[in-house]
């Protein structure tokens, strides 16, 4: 972190000075935006938000399961309730009558510019993994409080550049968040075809922008740059299954499954998903296949449902995991698990597991594709967030990488080591980016792999 950046919360800064403007008075604006957030017009998460503000019994259970809090050596500032209370104290002080009448009794506090700065940073120390909401006896959701706080902050112009300028804004303008233009995209696809030919010794044609194909496969566009093995694996699988499929280039609209609006803004979320739906309609695909991306799956499978009426999205939505699982069951894909003899474990990404219910599909797939599948412990709904969620995997400003390596990453490294596996499989780009760093930072004798990559490696042709 450069010396010019002011310390406002802990030793890290996710928000640049340009984004946070720590010296500018913003309390009034914040309170006005918060007032709006509490109105029912903010319908998208109103009930979980209001209930979570009101119903916390301060029993501390969330802290017992929170990866950041635990890994930080139980630092108070990283306790889920401490974080949620930063907003809750404002809620009580300005928007409830007991807080107005007896602030000291109920723990209501005035908002100051310093507290606003600290809140803005602290809501970017939680990945909204929602493990705490699983454990909470009251089902209070600290994650939704964090997300609503991010929404309020975004409404007054405070959001990380990685998610906004270089995220949703860029995706809408360029078709994908990394800003890959059509020519570069087509070059990349050609390169991937060559790579498959060289590695496997056979041709796999990767169709692009084919109108009326049965399956439109939309990856996290970052995968083309960072996790090409996943993209190639998916292409081999589509080819082996004899599917009528296509990828799409930015010239057709949006060719990136990500939606960073999920992390910080309903308005941005809606803009992106509407543009994605328009793209699918334009190409006339029957099924939109969401590549290996956790939050994109959550967005397309669940968050979309009450936002875009069914008749306005005349296509099916499937995760690539659901499709692979189905094709293995139908015998459309033949796999030899001996082709992946190393011990493999699976990481349940928060957005696919806790938030998506996709627990069994990846396990069935990996058991069919790998000779030695091992569960990590804990797993499924109690799995530990890797720390890449909520966009953290792409946030490395200053020393922020150190934050997610020393907290979430530390616990995850211990959990991975205990499996004795030499490959950790997952189906989420943020998780993969985080694993890439965890393995390097914590010097783990293993590698990460996309599920598609392992399946492609096990294909019997």
């Amino acid at each position: 972190m450069s010396a010019a950046v002011k310390k406002v919360f802990d030793d890290y800064r996710v928000l640049s000075d340009e984004a946070l403007q720590p010296e500018k008075p913003r309390v009034k604006e914040f309170l006005a935006a918060m007032k709006k957030s509490l109105q029912r017009d903010n319908w998208t998460f109103w009930l979980p938000y209001v209930l979570s503000l009101e119903a916390c019994m301060k029993c501390g259970t969330c802290g017992e399961v929170c990866p950041v809090y635990q890994a930080s050596g139980r630092k108070e500032i990283y306790h889920p309730v401490y974080r949620a209370d930063m907003l809750r104290k404002i809620y009580k002080r300005y928007f409830t009558w007991p807080g107005r009448l007896f602030p000291a009794l109920v723990g209501a506090e005035d908002l100051t510019e310093e507290k606003l700065n600290a809140l803005a940073e602290n809501v970017y120390r939680c990945t909204v993994c929602r493990r705490c909401a699983v454990a909470c006896p009251m089902a209070v959701d600290n994650g939704v409080i964090v997300r609503e706080a991010r929404k309020i902050l975004d409404a007054i112009g405070i959001a990380p550049e990685e998610l906004k300028e270089n995220g949703t804004a860029k995706q809408l303008q360029a078709g994908n968040a990394p800003g890959i233009n059509t020519a570069a995209f087509l070059d990349m696809v050609e390169f991937l075809e060559e790579e498959i030919r060289e590695a496997r010794g056979y041709e796999v044609k990767i169709p692009v922008d084919k109108e009326g194909a049965e399956y439109l496969l939309m990856h996290n566009a970052g995968d083309y740059l960072a996790f090409a093995e996943t993209v190639m694996g998916a292409a081999e699988i589509m080819h082996a299954a004899g599917a009528d499929w296509t990828l799409n280039s930015p010239q057709t609209g949006i060719n990136d499954a990500v939606n960073y609006g999920v992390f910080y803004s309903d308005a941005e979320f809606a803009r992106i998903i509407k543009a994605q739906v328009e793209t699918v309609k334009r190409l006339g695909a029957r099924v939109l296949v969401v590549g290996e991306c956790g939050h994109a799956f959550e967005a397309f499978k669940y968050l979309i449902l009450r936002l875009i009426p069914e008749k306005e999205r005349p296509f099916e939505i499937k995760s690539i995991l659901e499709l692979i699982d189905q094709w293995i069951k139908e015998g459309r894909l033949k796999l030899d698990p001996q082709k992946n003899p190393e011990p493999v474990t699976f990481h349940d990404s928060c957005k696919l597991g806790r938030l998506g219910g996709m627990y069994e599909e990846p396990r069935r797939i990996l058991k069919a594709a790998c000779a030695d599948f091992r569960e990590m412990s804990p797993n499924r709904e109690m799995n530990l967030c890797c720390g890449g969620g909520s966009g953290f995997a792409i946030m490395e400003k200053g020393n922020f990488l150190e934050f997610h390596m020393e907290t979430y990453g530390k616990l995850k490294a211990e959990q991975l080591k205990a499996t004795g596996a030499s490959i950790v499989a997952c189906a989420c780009s943020n998780c993969k980016a985080q694993f890439r760093e965890i393995i390097r930072y914590h010097k783990l004798p293993m590698r990460y792999a996309g599920v598609s990559e392992l399946v492609a490696n096990a294909l019997v042709r």
Partner: protein, 221 residues
Amino acid sequence: MEWWRHFVAAVLPYFSLAFFVAGLLYRVLYWSRAPKHLHWELFPYPHTLGEQLKEMLTEVFTLKSLFLHNRRAWLPSLTMHWGIYLLVVWPFLVLAGLPLAAPAGKAGGVLALAGSLLLLCYRLARSEVRRLSAPVEYLNLLFIFALALSGLQSGFLGDAGAVRSYLLGLARFTPEQPPAGYLAPVLLAELFLIYVPLSRMAHFAAKFFTYHKVKWGELHR
């Protein structure tokens, strides 16, 4: 002083009960009129009514979440909750004239007393929980402690005969004066009824929404 005794024994019972019902109703209606939010369930969750009832009852009667994830708080909390459950059932047992009423009342009082005290200790002794607690957290526990203590100390919770005739009088709208020593627990119970809908002690109602409307959602997967 007569007017005061009359107010506590014959006026406040109706007011506090009406306030309790209306206050809870207001909060429940406030939440139930919520706009339908985006799907935000947590998997896996129970789907059928039977599965949901099973999970809800297990949670209510065993506090499974605390048992699994916060064992230190579990026994104190379970003790207090069982005390409260017994104290909620107790007036009905008393009215029904069941011989079980007096032991249930006393057991409820003892458990609520012990549980609230243990939870106070938990909150004070665990520095991280203490730091998260506002004074109101202690006030809530002290309220339950005082209520149980006065019910036990005065003999109110074990005196099924006198309590029955007092409650029957109230039910027939011909309220009688309870024995003088019972005025304190009666007053505390009334204040408690007024306090619940205004405070987080209405969490049992909120819990329906956090589970049924948010955590469990409506999607069937």
